[in-house]
């Protein structure tokens, strides 16, 4: 939501009371999720020991940094009514590939570049198959998920690949203004993709395609090109996340990122991105990512039994979407 809906509503001719009520509701609607998060955060701060400490907040930020990066691009993917299950595999493959290339060439920079190019290539292939050959995105990316995971295993012989150069580790472990570099990268992603979504033709066209691909095409949107770009960028960012993860772990691991895709998609949907396309906000995605991370973090702090964590995760997911739904319900009838 670039401009506030509230302002626009105020322009209609109705009684002042009606108008005030409509305005209030619009505010509630626009920011309900943020509100939920703030309440959650406040309650946890007060009830869970150590939750509200700098160390913990930084740790929380670090724990969602990979998901956060990829959620930014997944937002575009879902907003254009597509779907990408291959990101988890790409994360793993990029880490392994970066490590292998770095070791082979002796240059971390070349390794990183190679991994990112490889990720972009995976995304490009996804995009072309989906946009040009018109194969269902779920199936296409399920297939590339398998294939890329296989490549990661083959390249690494199923073993973690260590990197010899120490320079590689700074990426994941150094700090800047008190925050670790991965967190900065994630923040940068949110800013860049937020601007892209709201302020550029690319972003608006993405939403238009998700809303109605046929109409978008007839309105002059280069639908195929935009879709390919979305997947390409998604692959690229997933690879970046994979490289950063490998750097944090000091090795590329072929079985990293399993289940990652569903976490990312959950975060987006929690953040109000519609799986039917056409609707997405960057603030929502940020909050979605934060809710997911916060819940996990608090459960660890509260020492909740591993088995019960399943229940809590499931319940939180349901409740958050339910609350969001209630507001839509009010709107539609």
């Amino acid at each position: 939501m670039t401009e506030s809906n509230a302002a626009a509503i105020a322009a209609t001719r109705e009684t002042p009371r009606d108008r005030r009520r409509a305005l209030l509701w619009q505010l509630v609607d626009d920011y309900s999720l943020i509100g939920i998060f703030i309440v959650l955060f406040a309650v946890l701060s007060m009830t869970v020991r150590y939750f509200f400490s700098w160390d913990n907040v930084v740790g929380l930020a670090l724990s969602v940094s990979q998901i956060g990066m990829v959620a930014c691009t997944m937002m575009f993917c879902l907003a254009s009514r597509d779907f990408d299950l291959s990101v988890g595999s790409t994360v793993a493959f990029a880490g392994v590939f970066c490590a292998i290339v770095s070791n082979a060439t002796g240059s971390v920079v070349i390794g990183i570049a190679a991994a990112i190019v490889a990720g972009a290539l995976v995304g490009f292939v996804n995009g072309v198959v989906i946009a040009k050959l018109k194969i269902n995105a779920l199936i296409t990316t399920l297939a590339t998920m398998e294939i890329v995971r296989g490549l990661a295993f083959i390249a690494s012989h199923g073993q973690a690949v260590g990197v010899s150069s120490e320079a590689f580790f700074t990426l994941g472990s150094s700090q800047f203004l008190g925050l670790p570099v991965p967190v900065w990268v994630t923040l940068a992603c949110f800013v860049v993709f937020g601007v892209l979504l709201n302020k550029t033709i690319y972003g608006r066209n993405t939403l238009a395609i998700g809303g109605n691909p046929d109409a978008a095409r007839l309105a002059g949107v280069a639908v195929d090109r935009v879709r390919i770009a979305i997947f390409l960028i998604q692959g690229l960012i997933a690879a970046l996340a994979g490289v950063i993860l490998a750097s944090r772990m000091t090795s590329g691991q072929p079985n990293a990122g399993e289940g990652f895709e569903l976490n990312v998609i959950s975060a987006c949907v929690l953040g109000g991105v519609s799986l039917m396309g056409g609707r997405a906000t960057i603030s929502g995605v940020l909050v979605g990512v934060l809710i997911m991370g916060t819940v996990q973090n608090a459960m660890s702090l509260m020492n909740i039994d591993a088995f019960y964590q399943y229940l809590v995760r499931g319940a939180i997911l349901l409740i958050a979407v339910l609350v969001d739904q209630l507001k839509n319900r009010r709107q539609s009838r």
Partner: protein, 308 residues
């Protein structure tokens, strides 16, 4: 170097929190916590990213040290660095950390048994039982229910193969049955196909990552008409899956399981860590435990012996 308020808090991080083995480790660590009066924080960290998150989380809640069974031993350098950066004492259990060159990191105290050692025990147990039953190795096939995606799984099965070969088992009779996931059904399907491929064997032995894998292989062999006398399956873990087999009225092809004591791994490491934090008494650099073969005959006895 005790905590300011004298409260000791220790993290116990495991790679597969749903696995019975780790549940047991936690259980015994909890027992130690109760006895010694410290707080135990149990966190599961199934991949590298979550290990790092977990360490941060422990630091945030002012733990002074943690014990970890890492999802991948190659995470060694980063775990060590992270623990150091966060000012946490570090011990490992089950799996020993290695450095970039693949050498064990000796500076980190460790308690455990190497994956290949367990595997060797499995192989030995199978070889012994074969001899006892008087099987001819040429007529016997060995099912290696493999899951090479997991380094530990590979090391365990490789260990078993080594022991079998040393006992004179022909390498050609070892049949690879890769499971797509680590559950029993996938092991069943993999083993079933492997048996189809080798119709000539009169007997089968089976080993794998854990009890569930071997259980699947045994069920598959049963389904193909191999009776209990013609199958020797030896699992790892001494889990409920194995005990269920032993408690059946009729003996099944599931011959035994190599049991490692979760009690020692859970209880002792926690106590060691506690002493280290509280009284600055460094734990032994390396404690190696051994597995014990349990079978139908001796399962209850050995479990009692181990305090389970």
């Amino acid at each position: 170097s005790a905590a300011p308020n004298d409260e000791v808090k220790i993290g116990f991080v495991v790679k597969q929190p749903e696995e019975p083995w780790f549940q047991d480790e936690w259980k015994y660590a909890e027992q130690a916590a109760k006895e010694k009066g410290f707080t135990l924080v149990k966190i599961g960290a199934p991949d590298g990213g979550q290990v790092l998150t977990t360490i941060d989380n422990l630091k945030a809640q002012h733990a002074q040290g943690f014990i970890i069974c890492t999802p991948d031993v190659k995470l060694g350098p980063s775990i060590v660095a992270k623990a150091k950066a966060d000012g946490l004492k570090l011990m490992t259990v089950d799996d020993r950390l290695v450095d970039g060159a693949g050498k064990p990191i000796e500076a980190v105290p460790h308690m455990g048994i190497s994956a290949s050692k367990i595997g060797e025990q499995v192989g030995q147990a199978i070889a012994d039982e074969m001899k006892k039953r008087g099987w001819k190795p040429e007529e016997t096939g060995a099912l290696r229910v493999s899951y090479d995606q997991l380094p530990t799984a590979r090391e365990r099965t490789e260990g078993a193969i080594e022991a079998l070969s040393a006992a004179g088992f022909p390498k050609d009779n070892i049949v690879n049955a890769p499971q797509a996931k680590t559950d029993t059904e996938n092991a069943f399907n993999a083993a079933n196909i492997a048996i189809t491929q080798h119709p000539d064997f009169k007997h089968w032995v089976a080993f794998g990552l854990n009890d569930e894998a071997v259980l699947g292989a045994v069920r598959a062999a049963e389904g193909r008409g191999f009776s209990a006398e013609n199958v020797i399956g030896v699992g790892i873990g001494g889990s409920k899956s194995a005990l269920n087999e032993f408690s059946k009225a009729q003996a099944t092809g599931f011959f035994g399981s190599v049991l490692i004591s979760p009690k020692r791994h859970g209880y002792e490491t926690s106590v060691n860590m506690y002493e280290w934090i509280k009284n600055d008494k460094a734990p032994p650099a390396l404690t190696l435990t051994t597995g014990q073969l349990i079978t139908r005959a001796n399962a209850d006895e050995i479990r009692k012996e181990m305090g389970l």
